[in-house]
Symmetry: D2
Subunit: 148 residues, 4 copies
């Protein structure tokens, strides 16, 4: 049972904008990258088609920005499982600049995703219980894990 994963990404030139900092939309992309790496760390993939396609649409995402990131900064994205529900997962993310000085927390975000599959009758996607093969590997992080 896992509740945490960390990845590091470099801020590339194409992540920056004319304000000279990483465009804020990339924080959401990095959250998702951490989510997918978390799945891989459990021997899973976010993209599964066997025995049947399973999707994880984003239901909500937010982010609070404290400090900017700049070109060539290294940023650690720490994923923490905030909530494990029957048909959805809520992740928290802590962004820390881990290159240069000062090294510090620069942002915090949240991503809520639903587990869905295609309903064979209607052809529409509908929320389904997270399959045990996935759910059994994931647990909510203890409160102290979020402490700064």
């Amino acid at each position: 049972m896992a509740y945490e994963h960390r990845i590091v990404r470099e801020v590339e030139f194409y992540h920056t904008d004319m304000a000279g900092i990483m465009h804020f939309s990339n924080f959401y992309r990095f959250m998702e990258a951490a989510e997918h790496a978390f799945f891989r760390s459990l021997g899973l993939s976010i993209h599964t088609v066997d025995p049947e396609p399973l999707g994880w649409p984003r239901v909500h995402a937010d982010c609070d920005f404290s400090y900017p990131l700049r070109f060539e900064d290294s940023v650690e994205i720490q994923l923490l499982v905030r909530e494990k529900r029957e048909k959805s997962l809520v992740y928290s993310f802590i962004f820390r600049k881990v290159s240069g000085e000062p090294q510090r927390e620069v942002a915090r975000g949240t991503l809520a995703v639903a587990c869905v599959k295609r309903d064979s009758a209607t052809g529409k996607m509908k929320a389904v219980p997270i399959p045990p093969a996935i759910a059994d590997k994931i647990e909510a992080a203890p409160p102290e894990a979020f402490g700064g």
Copy 2:
């Protein structure tokens, strides 16, 4: 005094992802596009350097996703000023699919931005009161404007 603005954007191929829908990070980009168009509609620009550079860093952004957008969909992004504070603005956004059927609200988001300029003493960006030339043109939307 204005509190609202609407833009329409097309979902381009490069906005989509392998799930066949618009990648969620683009909702944040479209919020920002609406914010900038709102400023232009008031005869302002988000990017001002005269008499001195003024910046609008993002402090918080969130979005709730109800329905996906797909390639070639037209989406209207309605900006509403939720809060006007001395040194910051909070916007709400309502996304509506306005092409094909069904036409409907697909997402709602929020963007909070601070008004900053460079402190001549320290060289660092710091929050400052929104200049009257901008503040006098903007007001908070009435509660009923947010009603669905």
Copy 3:
């Protein structure tokens, strides 16, 4: 029979980079947007699944950059069909800044795309002749159309 199409796009903040100009990767995205709009102008879609899925993978793309584009510039992308082959199309693109001063050509690009469908025997994508429903609507532009 058509050989030309024009679209206009705004340079949004998220298209810029820390050099203060539109990131060069977006020129390729705008070429593709013009290609797709060209298809729509003919009553077609680049994304067709009926009677069977047809794909248009990019085989080659290039661009020569003469002048930068900046935030809030309007850019016209003119598509010209350079070559119509049995199983592929080659487009040329002329980018012109059409807002502010000076208005001028800022870049020229090329996009070569193949027409493919899934081979029912092998399951792999393979080049196929462009279906008449599409090919009959497209012709190569005359040489003088490319003249500056």
Copy 4:
């Protein structure tokens, strides 16, 4: 004197499009990432402001695409200095999928960049000789380095 550098990047979900493959615009972004990493490998940065700002605008970029890249693929981008001129550099790039099977070359690209600085008289960017501190560290790759 160096003429080569290699980086590896993961294809993230946000790099993909609705065709299920990495959007072609990202090949150009990865070329640039390799260029910047090449500079860092020489103790340089593409972003220098001391003793005065030096820029490297893109003059030309092209890419030939042989095979698609997919989500979670690892791709090696090999940079080779194709030409070293007085005021510009031309790089070649070879993209190889280095995860899963088959591992193979998937694309080849070119990037030509000019060395510019702001002219103090006119305020405009103009091409200048590459400073010795940079030029002395870079040489053109031998022809055999490009061999497949």
